[in-house]
Amino acid sequence: MTEDVVVTNALTKRFGELVAVSSLDLKISRGVVYGLIGPNGSGKTTAIKVMNGLLRATSGSARLLDEEVPVRGVIHRIGYMPQEMAIYTDLTVHENLELFAGMYSMSRGNFEGAEKDLLEMIDLAERRDSLVATLSGGMKHRVSLACALVHDPELVFLDEPTVGVDPELRKGFWDYFAELKSAGKTVVLTTHYMDEAVRCDIVGMMRLGEMIAEGTPESLMKAAGTTTLEDAFLANAKEGSV
């Protein structure tokens, strides 16, 4: 039996009258790449922020790695990359990575190894000592991803990890997510790119704060009678609004 590392029960987040996330029920098993897809304002980022303890749920509950949110005991086993850059532009790439490693009390030896691998993955080994302010938007995004992964978390939340990343490197990212998965880690990500969401094991389609469909990309396309995930989303959205 597979272990569920993310479980939400009727998770709801309201901002005044606006229901950003409505009664979300999620079960994400260990060792999968789970993609939350949907247009802007569909509640993907809010859901991830609630799960990471940055926003308090209005009602319902969430558990990560078997601990109620906001987690403390298992927090060092979780990684989070927010949608905004959220790294220190007045520090170098290395200093940013070192800071986040410090937050997780990593030993110097472990950090040095992790830094080397991550800098290769994000293709920024040569810019290790550059100030982040001097990097391009895409490069900053890659540094932000590396900061989320530096402590080798077993559950990673990535909010739009491939925005602003060129296609070649984006492929590299997905290969890396696959590597994480094969190492038994769980990746929960949001994306606008439907073509790359096909590479997720499970996709959750969100619209107006609600989960309108969930399943493997193949099953979703098959059920909607479409050949692309984008069309499958549109078909589900249309069905939901009827």
């Binding site: 403390r72 060092h76 989070y80 927010p82 905004e84 850059m85 790294i87 937050m103 997780y104």
Partner: protein, 383 residues
């Protein structure tokens, strides 16, 4: 130049202000605040300077000249007199102790035969004989030159008024100041501790406000909070960093004061630095709390004058607390800089150690703990 385009820019700027009501309110409130605080502070003269009186004078046939002088001094409101008992075994040491313990800025001592000496002097003068002036000794705490000068001036003026009134001319009485603290102290000795505290507070407060608003706006604060780091650790880390910045800055000021202006540090420079460190971390906490109420850097910097002007004017940096109008004196007690400047001055000029300045350090440490705790709490609250 295109007038339409220029007007469009002006309209845009004013509209932005209209949408930011706090800034609009600030633009009205700030000048009022400044004129009020400057007006009140600059309008204030020295009042209620604590001075002890030791009157050993046994008087003469027409009563005591010392009593008349004391009555004259107490008539004004510059000095606040407390009369020391002459029943002690060593009353002079008691008077000196009062100044040494900073219970009074000065002690005015009238000797046992003061009236007799004055009367003898007057008689000699009337006969055209040479007279040596009799003395009123003023034991002074010269750590604040403003106050020391004012005390001597008040006593001298009172002596002259009494004698001219009583005897119709000015007999030879010398007001003789004896420095308990601050022998040879100049205004720079008085300013240096104040400027050092002010600079440390300004820089720490500014860095703290700007840094935290930046952290919030960039999302880095939120991101840090998804890691194992606690709110207390973030606030503590910042306090440590900015406290060290304040230390480095104070060291530079201390060295410059000693090398360039020959300021003498009678007490321990390390104790001065400890005081500044405590002030620095307290200011960081204050900056953090203020920044949590600002949405952007623009709103955040508006807090600076609200804190800085009262600190500059009411904390005893340039003017003694005794020159602060009574109405505003309670405000001085709530400004951390007041305690830091007082402690630094006592260490640097009076040569006081931890045994004497601990109350100020305790207040600074207490304020720092309270402000940092509130800072950490404000972080928890926003989750």
């Amino acid at each position: 130049m295109n007038g339409h385009r220029m007007l469009a820019v002006a309209r845009k700027t004013l509209r932005s202000l209209r949408h930011d009501r706090r800034t609009a309110g600030f633009l009205i409130f700030m000048p009022l605040f400044m004129i009020a605080i400057f007006g009140y502070t600059f309008g204030g003269d020295l009042r209620d300077v604590e001075v002890a009186i030791l009157n050993l004078d046994t008087g003469g046939s027409d009563g005591s000249v010392a009593d008349a002088i004391i009555a004259e001094i107490s008539y004004g409101d510059t000095l606040k007199l407390s009369i020391l008992s002459d029943g002690h075994t060593d009353p002079l040491s008691t008077a000196e102790g009062v100044v040494r313990d900073a219970d009074a800025w000065a002690a005015v001592v009238f000797g046992q035969g003061f009236t007799a000496e004055v009367e003898e002097g007057i008689a000699a003068m009337k006969q055209g004989l040479p007279v040596s002036p009799c003395q009123v000794v003023v034991l002074l705490d010269g750590s604040n030159p403003n106050i020391a000068q004012a005390v001597v001036a008040e006593v001298t003026a009172a002596v002259q008024r009494v004698l001219v009134t009583e005897y119709g001319f000015n007999p030879p009485i010398a007001v003789h100041p004896e420095m308990i603290y601050g022998e040879g102290a100049e205004f720079i000795d008085f300013f240096a501790p104040g400027v050092m505290g002010l600079a440390a507070m300004m820089v720490t407060l500014m860095l703290s406000i700007i840094s935290f608003v930046h952290e919030r706006a960039n999302g880095t604060l939120d991101r840090l909070l998804t890691t194992p780091v606690t709110e207390g650790e973030i606030v503590g880390g910042y306090a440590l960093a900015f406290g060290l910045v304040a230390l480095v800055q104070s060291t530079v000021i201390l060295l410059a004061a000693v090398i360039l202006f020959r300021v003498e540090i009678v007490g321990s420079p390390l104790l001065v630095l400890l005081t500044i460190f405590l002030l620095g971390i307290g200011s960081q906490g204050l900056g953090f709390i203020l920044s949590s109420n600002a949405k952007n850097e623009f709103q955040a910097v508006q807090f600076m004058p609200l804190i800085l002007f009262p600190s500059i004017l009411l904390a005893g940096v340039f003017w003694p607390l005794e020159a602060v109008p009574e109405l505003l004196r309670p405000v001085s007690s709530f400004i951390p800089l007041t305690y830091a400047v007082d402690a630094c001055r006592s260490i640097m000029i009076r040569g006081w150690g931890l045994g004497e300045v601990w109350p100020q350090l305790l207040i600074l440490a207490g304020l720092a703990v309270v402000l940092l705790t509130l800072s950490a709490y404000s972080l928890k609250k926003r989750r």
